[in-house]
Symmetry: C2
Subunit: 630 residues, 2 copies
C-alpha cells in the first residue's frame, strides 16, 4: 500500500543487457512525463535523464512528454521524446520542450480522463515534475492507477526551495528542490550588480524583492551569495518577541499577547535604525533584500485581517446596511474604527479593536489600509500576492526617516579628514567650529552634526550661541557646505526578481542534479516503486557520493487549509531558525550591514567576464553597423 511504503533505495541498473538485473531494468516500457507549475531551471535535464536511462535499459522503450502540463494528460496532447529533442534542450533553461501548466488532476472526472490517456499510450509509468501540490497529486494518482499497473512518480521542482525531506531519524533525504540554485544565482548576480552600483554611486538604497511567498529560502541564499547590507527573513520576523512588552506585562502581573510577533511599525523602525547607522558612517546607500512573502509572516497583518473580517461581519449582522455601503470612503471606515476603539460607538469600547490596533492601523500606508478593508473573496482570504510588499514597508520607512530627520538623528557622517581640509582651505579653525557643529568632534570616526542643527536657521543659532557669528552675520560658505553634506537624501530604487530567475539556464549543480533525478526516477520505475518522489541524498558532497532514493510522498503529507478547505497536502518547508545557514546569516548580519568605518563586504557570486565566450564578443550593433547594406 502506498501510504505505508518506505524510503526506497535503488537497486543499480545494468551496464550490459546480460546483467541479471536486466529483468527489472530491461523491460520494454512506455513512460509519460509532465511538467506542472512554474518553470524551473533544469527541467529539460530531468527529461534527458529519464530518456537516456530508459533507452539505455531497452532501446525499444518510449518516453512521451505531455504538452502544457496536466492539461496535456487530460486532453491527450503529447509528443514522443526523441534523442534529437533531448539533445536540443539538454542543459537549457525553461520548460520550453513540452511547456507547463497549472491544472490539477483533482476530481474523479479528471482522474478518469487521466487513466484513459495513460492507457491509450500504454504507459507503464507517469512522472510528474512539480512542486508540493503536484507531488501530492502524484501520490493520489499513484493510488488511483495502482490497479491498472501504472506507476506514478514525482520529481521535486520549485525554485522556492520549499520542498525538503528529512527522515524520522533526522537524516536529510532531500536537502533542496531543483531550480533553487539557478534561480538564486540569477537573482544574486543582479543583486550583486546593484551592490556594485550602490557602492559606485553612493546614491541609492536598492530594494530587491525576491520570489518566495511561503518561505524565505531564496532571500536567505541571495544574502549568502551577495552579502547585501540588509536581508529580511520572514521566518525570523515571525519569531520576534518584544521583550520590553513582555517585561512590562510581567511587572503589571499580566500577559501581553501583542508582544509576540513583529508589527510593521516596529519592522520599519528596525530598518530605519540600520539605515541611520550606515548614514552616520557616510554610507547613505545600500542594498536590501526582501522576500516576496514577508507580510505573511507578520503576525499583526494576520490579526488585522481576522479582526476586520469580524468587525465587518458583526456590522453587517447587526445593521440593515452593508459595512462598505455604510462607510463608502476610506476616511469613513477609519473614522468608524476609531470610534470603535474609543467606545463612543453604538456599543461600548470594542474588545476586538482597541486603541493600540487603531494606532498601528493608522501607521499603515493608505493604499494598504484600503487593501485590508476591501471586500474579500468568497473564502474571506486576503490576497497577499496582490499587495506591493516593498512599497508598504518602504513607505513606512520613508515616513519614519522624515521624522528622524526632523529629530536631527538621521545625518550623513562627515569624514573628519575632509572636514579639516575644508576648514583649513577656508582659513577657519576646525577645532573651534567642530565642537559647535558635531556631537562627536575629536575622534577619527565620521563626524555627526548635532541633532539640534536641522536647518540653516538652527545652524545659524548654534554658531551665534557659540559666539562664532553675529546675529546679522552670514554663515561661512564652507560651514554651510559641510552642513549640506550632512543632510541625507533618502532615495530608493525597487526591483523584483523572479521570472528572470525561473527562465535562467541551470547552473552546473542543477544540470547534474536534475539529470540524476531523471535517472533516479527511471530507477524507481525499474524497481517497481509508485507514489514515490525521486530524491538524491548527499547533494552537499561530491557527485560520486550522491545517493538516489525514492521517498513515499504520502508520508510527507499533512492536513492544511487551502482555499478555505482542509486538504491533505505535502508540507512546505520554511527556513528553520536553528539551521546553520540562517545562523550564519544572523551572525554575519552586523558585518554585512557594515555600519562602521571601512568598506562594504559585498560578494560577487559570479566570475569576472574576462574570458573568451565564442563569437559574440562585441556588440552586435557594432558588428552590423560596420557592414554596409547592399
Amino acid at each position: 500500500d502506498i501510504i505505508d511504503n518506505h524510503v526506497q533505495k535503488l537497486v543499480q541498473g545494468p551496464d550490459s543487457p546480460d546483467d541479471p538485473h536486466n529483468t527489472l531494468y530491461g523491460k520494454k516500457r512506455h513512460i509519460g512525463i509532465v511538467f506542472s507549475g512554474g518553470p524551473a531551471p533544469g527541467g529539460h535535464n530531468a527529461i534527458a535523464g529519464v530518456f537516456d536511462a530508459a533507452k539505455k535499459a531497452n532501446p525499444h522503450s518510449k518516453v512521451f512528454g505531455f504538452i502544457l502540463g496536466p492539461d496535456g494528460i487530460l486532453e491527450n496532447r503529447y509528443v514522443e521524446i526523441t534523442a534529437d529533442l533531448v539533445d536540443t534542450h539538454r542543459n537549457m533553461g525553461g520548460f520550453t520542450m513540452i511547456k507547463t501548466g497549472r491544472s490539477k488532476i483533482d476530481s474523479p472526472e479528471k482522474m478518469k480522463l487521466s487513466r484513459q490517456a495513460c492507457k491509450k499510450l500504454g504507459l507503464d509509468a507517469l512522472i510528474i515534475v512539480g512542486g508540493d501540490d503536484s507531488n501530492t497529486n502524484a501520490a493520489f494518482m499513484a493510488q488511483e492507477l495502482k490497479a491498472d499497473g501504472i506507476q506514478v512518480l514525482g520529481i521535486p521542482k520549485t525554485i522556492d526551495g520549499d520542498i525538503q525531506v528529512t527522515a524520522e531519524s533526522g537524516e536529510t533525504l532531500c536537502a533542496i528542490s531543483f531550480g533553487f540554485h539557478s534561480a538564486a544565482r540569477a537573482f544574486s548576480q543582479n543583486i550583486s550588480n546593484l551592490c556594485t552600483d550602490a557602492g559606485s554611486d553612493l546614491k541609492y538604497w536598492h530594494v530587491c524583492k525576491v520570489m518566495g511567498r511561503v518561505a524565505s529560502h531564496l532571500a536567505l541564499e541571495s544574502a549568502l551569495q551577495t552579502h547585501a547590507n540588509i536581508t529580511l527573513i520572514g521566518e525570523d520576523l515571525a519569531d520576534y518577541v518584544d521583550q520590553e512588552r513582555i517585561k512590562a506585562a510581567e511587572n503589571a502581573g499580566t500577559v501581553d499577547y501583542t508582544a509576540y510577533g513583529i508589527t510593521l511599525r516596529h519592522l520599519s523602525r528596525l530598518i530605519c535604525d540600520v539605515i541611520v547607522r550606515r548614514a552616520a558612517h557616510g554610507k547613505n546607500y545600500g542594498v536590501m533584500i526582501i522576500p516576496e512573502g514577508v507580510l505573511e509572516f507578520i503576525n499583526e497583518i494576520q490579526i488585522f485581517i481576522i479582526k476586520l473580517n469580524t468587525i465587518i461581519g458583526d456590522y453587517n449582522h447587526i445593521h440593515d446596511v452593508d459595512f462598505h455601503a455604510a462607510f463608502p470612503s476610506l476616511d469613513a471606515k477609519l473614522d468608524y474604527l476609531r470610534r470603535l476603539s474609543r467606545g463612543i460607538s453604538d456599543k461600548d469600547a470594542s474588545p476586538i479593536w482597541n486603541a493600540r490596533d487603531d494606532e498601528l492601523f493608522n501607521d499603515l500606508p493608505t493604499f494598504f489600509q484600503e487593501g485590508l478593508l476591501v471586500e474579500r473573496d468568497t473564502h474571506g482570504n486576503f490576497q497577499f500576492s496582490q499587495v506591493k510588499t516593498e512599497k508598504i514597508i518602504m513607505d513606512m520607512v520613508k515616513d519614519y526617516l522624515d521624522i528622524l530627520k526632523e529629530k536631527g538623528t538621521y545625518k550623513v557622517g562627515i569624514d573628519p579628514l575632509v572636514y579639516r581640509r575644508f576648514m583649513a582651505d577656508a582659513g577657519l579653525d576646525a577645532h573651534v567650529y567642530g565642537e559647535v557643529l558635531f556631537k562627536n568632534y575629536g575622534g577619527t570616526a565620521h563626524l555627526l552634526v548635532k541633532h539640534t542643527i536641522i536647518s540653516m536657521k538652527t545652524l545659524k543659532l548654534a554658531l551665534e550661541d557659540a559666539g562664532l557669528l553675529s546675529p546679522d552675520g552670514k554663515i561661512p560658505g564652507v560651514v554651510e557646505t559641510i552642513y549640506q553634506k550632512s543632510v541625507p537624501n533618502f532615495k530608493t530604487q525597487n526591483h523584483f526578481y523572479g521570472y528572470d530567475g525561473r527562465g535562467s539556464n541551470p547552473t552546473r549543480f542543477d544540470c547534474n542534479y536534475t539529470y540524476n533525478l531523471g535517472l533516479t526516477a527511471f530507477g524507481l520505475i525499474a524497481n517497481g516503486a509508485t507514489g514515490q518522489m525521486a530524491v538524491i541524498r548527499n547533494l552537499e558532497h561530491d557527485m560520486s557520493t550522491w545517493e538516489p532514493l525514492g521517498v513515499p510522498i504520502a508520508r510527507l503529507m499533512h492536513l492544511e487549509e487551502r482555499k478555505g478547505k482542509l486538504a491533505l497536502v505535502m508540507e512546505k518547508r520554511v527556513v528553520e531558525l536553528d539551521s546553520t545557514a540562517f545562523q550564519v546569516v544572523k551572525d554575519l548580519r552586523e558585518e554585512w550591514l557594515a555600519a562602521g568605518p571601512g568598506e562594504d563586504h559585498y560578494r560577487k557570486p559570479c566570475p569576472i567576464a574576462f574570458s573568451e565566450d565564442g563569437d559574440d564578443n562585441r556588440p552586435i550593433t557594432l558588428t552590423l553597423n560596420a557592414v554596409d547594406l547592399p
Copy 2:
C-alpha cells in the same frame, strides 16, 4: 588652439627606456583621473590602462584618482593609485575604486578650485571619464588650464551608447562608448530568461523597459541579442508618417501636419495588432522591449506639452485666477479643455486645442493626463523621467484589447489537431461544429472562433442557428471547453533593466576596450594633446587592428537647449534609421514576432552554465546546512 586641433594619431610609445620617443613618453608625470556620472562597466580598466602605461613609461610617474567624481577635484579629495589598488579592481565592474559623482565644473569659481587642486598635486594632465556632458566639461577645462600647462583629456563612457564619433569623411572614429556592451548583455541575459519563461508558461507578456532616455541604442542591441517578439525604437516612432492622413489631406487639397509623428493611440493600436496576431496562432504571450525614453520620441506628447503650456499661460494671462486654482480637479480641467475644443468657451473655437487634440488627450490614462496638466518646473520642462512609460503604453494597450475582445477579433487560436481529438473523444462531428464555430475551419492553421461568438450566450445562439442545439438544450461540454480556450486572458509582468546593467562586470570586449582607452589616454598625454577624447577605431575588427586616436572634443559640440538655456554641448547620437543594425532589426521584425505557425525565434546571448565555475558550485544554504553548528 583647442577648437581647431585635428584628430590625433598616436606616436607609439617606447618598449625600452633607450627608445628615442622616450623624451615624449618617459617624462615623469603626475596624472589625475576622475569618474563623472553613472557607473559603467569597465571604468576600472581605464584606470588600469592609464596606470600601467604611465608606470611603464616612467616608474616615478604617479596617478591620482579623485574621489566621488568632480566633487573630488573641487574638494581636493583623492587617493594615489597603487598597483595593489589597480590589481584588486582590474576587470571588475562599477566605479567602486574611486566612486563617482554628478557635479559639473561649470562656473569660474569651480574652475578656479579645480586649477588649485591640479596645481597642488602638480598634475601634468587630468583625465575625465564620462558621458557627453563630462567630455564637454573636459574641453572647457582644457581651454582653461592650457595656460598652466595642464592637459585635459576625456574618455567616452556611457552605457546608453549615445557617444559616437564620425569623421567628416564619413569614417567611424568612435563606434560606441564603453559600458554599452556589458550593460546590453546584462539586460539581454535577463530578457532572454524572460523569453524562456514566456515560452515555457505561455501565460505572460513580459514588458521590459531598458535604460536609455535620449537614444534607443540599448533597446536595439537587446533586440539583436534576444530576438524578443516586439522592440520599440524611439527614433523609428518619431519618423512615423500616417500615409492615410497625408493622402486624405492631398485629396482635400490641404496639408495635414498631424500626419507626421505617431500618436500614443496609434502606437497602442500597432502593439495590439501584433498581440492579436500572435494570439491567433495560439501564442497569447511574448516579450516586448521598450526604451526608457520612448515617450520623448512621440511627437503628440511634445505637442500636448507645448499646447497645454500655452493654454494655461493664456488663461493665467487673461483671468485673475490661476488655471490650477480655477480648475482644481482633473475633471474640471478636462471639461475646460473640451469646451475649448468645441468653441463654447469664453472665446471661439480654440485654434490651439481642437477636437482631435481633445479626443487623443482623452485616450490617455488618467494618471498621465494628470501628469501633463500639473504645474511645470521653472523652465516649463516636462519631467519625462518621472513618468511610468510602460504603464502608460500598456494601460492603453489593455483598454484597446478589451475593445477587440468585445468586437470578437482578439481570440486565442485553437490547434486543429487538438480540436479534432477533443471532438472525436466526445463523439461529436468536428466538421459540422467546426463550420459553425470557426471562421477558418478546414485548413491546417490554428482555428479562430468567429467574431460573432464572444460569450456563452452568443455561442448558444450560433449553435441554435445552425440547428445543432434546441433552445432549451445545453451546450456540449467539449464545445464550451473549446470556446473557453479561445478566450484570451491578457496578463503582463513589467520589468525595468538599468541599474543592474550599470553595475555588472565588463564583458571581455569592454575589459579590452577600456584598458586600451586608458593606454590611449596616456598616449595622448605623452603626445602633448589636450581637449581631446581618447577613442579607438576598428572596434569591430580584431584587437590587433585597433587604432588609438584622439578626437578634438570642441569639434563634436553644438548648441542645444539644456535646462531652459542654450549651451554648447557634445551632441548625443541617436539610432540612425539607415544604419545596418536598425535595418536588420526592421527586416527581422516579422520573423521575431513569430505571429505564425511554429516556434518563437528567441536567442540566448549567453553560454549554457554547464561548466566548472570554481568552488561555488552548489547552493551555499545547502553546504552550510550540511554542517552542524558547534
